[in-house]
Amino acid sequence: MGKLTIGCFSSLVGSLSLDFAVKLSEAAIKKGHKVDLWVSGNATMLSKKGQKAFKDYSALEKKVQELLATGNFQTTACEACAEARGYKKDDTMEGFQRHSMDWYLASCFSADRVLHIGGD
């Protein structure tokens, strides 16, 4: 089975691109693939723990936790992008990694396919 790397730069609230990225991750994992999800820019909002799940807004913490539990999914937030937005290490959801941008490029290096979803 293959490895899919997804880079997403859109915010969790205000766009459905992250919802799509996580749904696609779930579908790929169900088919037996491994998925790396890189979030940068406004998408680092996904890494923030403790977000209230209102019905009117996207809330993906539960789904991300389910995907992490499969062992075939890893997700990493751009550390600088997160810090710039005030998301500290202590604010990060359990299981979510934080690295610099070279992590994404390395994930692309070993990926069978890369899907880069821009921001806004």
Partner: protein, 137 residues
């Protein structure tokens, strides 16, 4: 020796969103990617500006004065300083009424030797065809 070529395709305007800045900072991150790779493995970045994205290459940007942030110009010059391949779409330069003189073509002022190239879109297409992965910003 395994090398994967990543094409950073920049089509968005500067400053309106964070996209073009992130394209350049991610491309520059190729300089430190080895810490995650095995010996002999490399990432080769190429940055291509096309469509409205060529506006990122305008000289004399005043982002620090206006917004208090580093300019796209400084990131582009750093890319050239690090010998990244930078392509600018000729047809879009002409479409927007720009000239080579108005664009950031080198980083000589900070010691860079590599120059950007204004090339027909067919050349950019060739870069895309020879890249392992395309990242559109």
């Amino acid at each position: 020796m395994a090398t994967k070529k990543l094409a950073f395709m920049v089509k968005t305007l500067p400053y309106k969103t964070e996209e073009s800045r992130l394209a350049l900072t991610h491309a520059i991150a190729s300089q430190t990617v080895e810490i995650y790779l095995e010996d002999g493995e490399m990432v080769e970045p190429v940055v291509a500006f096309f469509g409205d994205g060529v506006m990122n290459c305008l000289k004399n940007q005043k982002a620090m004065n206006t917004y208090g942030v580093t300019s796209i110009e400084s990131h582009l010059k750093n890319s050239l300083l690090l010998d990244l391949k930078v392509l600018i779409c000729k047809e879009d330069v002409e479409r927007l009424g720009l000239s080579e003189d108005s664009l950031i073509m080198d980083a000589e002022d900070i010691g860079g030797e590599t120059k950007a190239s204004i090339v027909p879109f067919t050349e950019i297409m060739k870069e895309m065809e020879t890249s392992d992965h395309l990242l559109f910003f």
